[in-house]
Subunit: 284 residues, 6 copies
């Protein structure tokens, strides 16, 4: 179920397909470069997820990596020049430009979060550096038995600035583990990823992983898009606010969203013991 023919134009690093109804599969596709993230990748992600956000046919996304591993992280060769040494007249002006560049790179992963469709990420093999920044912006994380994770930034002399330090502490429960991973750059293997809660399921190999990811995606795709996307939006809002603010937000959100026909359709199916998969919901 991987896109055999390589990247989907106009993209050069991403392959896009529709493996099932309402499911979009985005594959990071630079297998010969260990799916390292080059300059093209950083902007293609933004275009890709903005399109997905607008696409009424898509209700859920599966994200994975082509080839032997998920991603080796940033492509240092391709990236270093522009980012680290912008051309400007003094330190203040260099800093000004560096800040703009970092903000742009942050957007590459924040689009995943801003897209109201849930994103299921399936990790096999290595997930290094910016790969961790990426997966922490996804909603559901699954991996293979042979997967490993490495917060690599400290090894190359910087504090991670495109998501890991901001999101990792909010997706796993152990502060000590987060700090240890971020400060020592040690590898974490799938069993610890599972016990710490980074991933919610581990699969024997890539084939079962992809099948598992598709099944989860299928469950999500079959439900009301009003309910599903509202759930994602509320979960992300709640993460960043107090319980009281989260409740107020939910009441405001649902004052209109409860006026959907999906509610009656879903309730009807539940009462009739019909599978939710048989219900047809309007586009959103």
């Amino acid at each position: 179920m991987s896109a055999s023919g390589g990247p989907t134009p106009p993209f050069t690093t991403l392959s896009i397909s529709q493996p099932a109804s309402h499911v979009t599969h985005v594959e990071l596709h630079r297998p010969e470069k260990r799916n390292a993230m080059n300059q093209a990748f950083w902007s293609e992600m933004i275009d890709c997820f903005n399109q997905i956000a607008e696409d009424p046919e898509c209700r859920v996304v599966v994200f994975s990596g082509a080839g032997k591993l998920f991603t080796a992280g940033i492509d240092l060769m391709d990236m270093a020049g522009g980012l680290l040494r912008p051309d400007a007249d003094d330190t203040a002006r260099i800093s000004w430009k560096v800040r703009q560049t970092i903000s742009k790179y942050q957007e590459t992963f924040s689009v995943i979060e801003k897209c109201p469709k849930p994103v299921v990420v399936a990790v096999h093999g290595a997930c290094v550096g910016a790969g961790v920044d990426l997966i922490t912006a996804c909603d559901i994380r699954l991996c293979t038995q042979d997967a490993w994770f490495q917060v690599k930034e400290v090894d190359i002399g910087l504090a991670a600035d495109v998501g890991t330090l901001q999101r990792l502490p909010k997706v796993i429960g152990s502060g000590s583990l987060v700090n240890e991973l971020a400060l020592t750059a040690r590898k974490m293997y799938s069993d610890e990823a599972k016990s710490s809660g980074l991933v919610s399921r581990v699969f024997p190999d890539k084939e079962t992983l992809m099948a598992g990811a598709m099944e989860v995606a299928g469950e999500i795709a079959s439900r009301s898009p009003v309910a599903v996307q509202g759930t994602k939006i509320n979960l992300i809002f709640s993460r960043d606010h107090s319980v009281k603010e989260g409740l107020d937000f939910a009441a405001m959100w649902n004052m209109s969203m409860l006026q959907t026909d999906d509610l009656m359709k879903s309730a009807q199916a539940a009462l009739e013991k019909k599978s939710i998969k048989q219900v047809v919901f309007s586009k959103l």
Copy 2:
């Protein structure tokens, strides 16, 4: 130790008893309806917990469900009409009323949190839909081996708006698991509830569960109510604020609370190696 004779008037869905000194037992009591939450339940909870909050004899609450399971969640038959289709002249006015209704329903579970006495919830069998909203508002969660939990809202076409999406991410450590549960409505069994931290203990059956819950409640009831209730208030404040704000709050709180005689009584008992259960504290 369950209230054999049914609901305690004027309540029709709740049975209230005092199984031990300073311990109040609230039992959700509609066993013939799988403890489904009907219209009466939503307002009785508010009255019940407001009374408990004011009752100087009560220092801790045990909450459980009568019959075969904890709760099947919202009673769709009893509830749907009023909530979903208020009578009003246009969409804005319907929305206005829906928002008021949701806020009122949120209060049903928020009273648990606003009540300064700790609430220990004991779950056996099914805990579905609004049941999860309820238990996440409790302080300590215990369950039986046969318990299972299901965030059901997405199955009936809505984003959960009375607590689950707001509190679940703050009571268990795995973001991926929270999202998976909320977006797919899959069941979670007791072992995963334990390993993910949703519950802090699992018991073989309902009898041992209730005994365990009573033991925990007994430990709490025997300690200074100034210390215990101050601890709950500080924990809830801290959850929603930065560490610095939490520390400032604690300093303000304790500037008067440390001037309690309980401190000397407790310290005395500790120095004399007496059991805390022998100390008599004034009412609060």
Copy 3:
């Protein structure tokens, strides 16, 4: 590797040493008093960590306890008088002084967090009361198989006000467990400390623990101090803010910090497959 000769003057409760390059070892050193925290301790900690924060030779701290156990917590005999019964003319004025005292005591552990150098804490045997306040302010927590932890405050009649209630919920993922520990004062042993994420590793005994702590510290000490200390600062900021605020902070931070020579040195070493331990970084 423990400081054999007792406290390091002018300190009377802390022993300071440099067991390895760029590593400072701080040992709580009142073994005959079970490392109980007396009045001297509370101010010595502030001096000690302020010095460490300023010391360009130090890049990481290992914190442990001398003797049979980590710490028995507050030294009630030494402390109680001054704190609880300040001399003043009315309740308001007593409260005013109590608040000042609590704030000062909070600083004793907050200095650990304000110090930009990571602190690895190694716990063996008992870690009671204020000991838990202390370790939750550290960055990485390790322990021995025989370690146990107890949030003791409720036993002596107060709500914990120097860190536990504020930080514990942010370092372990299970809300139910946090509440149970804080409300019942029950002991938690090393296996539950590990599974709940309070500690990220458990060692067979104190010797292996200290070796393990030193190894983790060595990994940290060998990396760019700009990267390491920036990582700690960003992690702590992110804990207390939304993801968006955390990302904005990181972009501001790195607009200047990416202009470090450490980046090139680290990247160079990575490309040449040299160990990071061979790279010489300037002082910070």
Copy 4:
């Protein structure tokens, strides 16, 4: 237009009338006691404004004082005992009760803010102490030439705790003036009240004041209640949040509120150059 016959039962301190269509007039009515706020007042206000909030006929409130002046503030004789010296066993327990009492008294004025109908307050003569707490919770402030205002609390030995210190700095622009008034208890006369922005208009005497207040109220009452009450709710939310949060709130609010028929009715009237007063809006 004042309610001649005294308080409106069951109220003993408030007189309620409907001087015009959709306008409710609430008059503080203890003229023989200089409208001092006794124990009854504090709870009657809550009942009164909760009723107004629910009353679909009311779209705007005018609040004023009967007799020679607006209010002399708290009725010290009637109040002091209960509040200041609750009966309890130790300082902590007294503090616990005092906090509950203050919170309850705060609600007396916060109901004005929680009521979605705008409240126009008309002040003549003295407005002292708790009177300032009251008027800062209103939406529009008007006064007579002979009006004066005094933040009195510091004179009787306390920091104002029912609204003045919290709201005054948010309703007038000069920090220096706020501090001076609150710290010295000096009187401020109508001209300074106008130039500082505390009131938005000054009238020669009570008669013109009441006419002016009724005119402002009439303008508000004639407009769409969806628009008016949404405006109040958004203004209060914005006061307490960042601009970005305020904008997000407004977008959420209006996603349903723009679906009101009032929009078309109002636009129609505007296009036809008809007075808004001729448009009939549904109840809200």
Copy 5:
């Protein structure tokens, strides 16, 4: 100094010119339609200010309206259809689209705030409805004697949602006045605009207004762009945060920005009593 030939292609509602060194003049240019804001305007503003933000030649913006008045606000004829009645299958889906539309329209004015170059707005004649939303997003407000301002939204049945309710309370000091304007839609004339602080200067007529705006702009343009744009960024951050957060932000910002050569150049000029206008600063 107005752009005589009409809109500057590709814009159809905006005329762009460079009346002086480093100064960009943006003129709202639909004089025959009273500068009413049609659909094109809402997106052209975004393009225009994004270009200005990137243009290193521009250091300050003057914004004004062509013809007889500043703006009559939203062009109801051109706008109403799309916004109010999006095509969708149920209320939830309509609401979903309405929210997206509102957010997009909010961006039209938020780009002014996000653009780091200060914007001086010069208002003559009427400034109605969305015109007030626009000017509150500008940094400095100037007007003619004949100018008047009207928060119009409540007149057409809605709560203002693109900036006025969010920003107006933060740019003028009188809460009572803000509420009165927003709830009654009454006109405010230039003298009250000045005394309330909405504008900081009033000019006799449009000619002197434009000269005054250009003079202010010239003062800003002559200063270090690092200092000026950093000042705007810090002022906007501070508006939405506590003083402590604002100070921390400023320290982070200036840790690199103080390393500009502009500091030495400016200080040098100050010491030599040279005009700042003679100093040449690098582009930013």
Copy 6:
């Protein structure tokens, strides 16, 4: 009433005296240098206000400048070297040190705010640059007719980072004026300072100014220190928080502070129509 003999040892830039009971006068005393702020000043302020905060005899502070004017701001000659060009190995390390330095300088003015005793500042003649940072941290601002104020930082190439940009928008109501002052560095004279609310009173000359400041200070000094200092603490908290948070804070604060004997003493005096100046309050 100025300290004739110059600075009070060990201070070299500040003269400290007690002109009246419970009143401390701090005079910026480098008249021959136009009270420019040299390196000594920045640390002396911290020592001075920390002492005042602890001094039970002091209940209020008057702050003024010796000689012809209030202050010319920062002493560029004395300051520039250290601040702008710290010695370090790369840009990151220079930035690190600059940030520490700025934070230290911010503390120089933040101590005024942290000191619970109100500070009345009396400005005559020029108040330039860092002078504005200083006065915005004071509680009450008074000035002479000949006073003028200038936010100078943009003129020397930087965004103000020690208080002006953070506090000025919170002490005066006109956003447009704040921005104009900060972006153009134009002078503001006493009349505009008064009408904008920067100062709350203007006096004909320095003599009447100092008499006026002493009178205000005397009013404050005669009132309960529990009430006065609690008022300052609550006002500052409220400025940085929502109204709801401010009210909760006040309830917590007063749960102990209302238990002061000052309340009864003050109430007694009020009932007996005695001057508050005759009441003797205990030290705080």
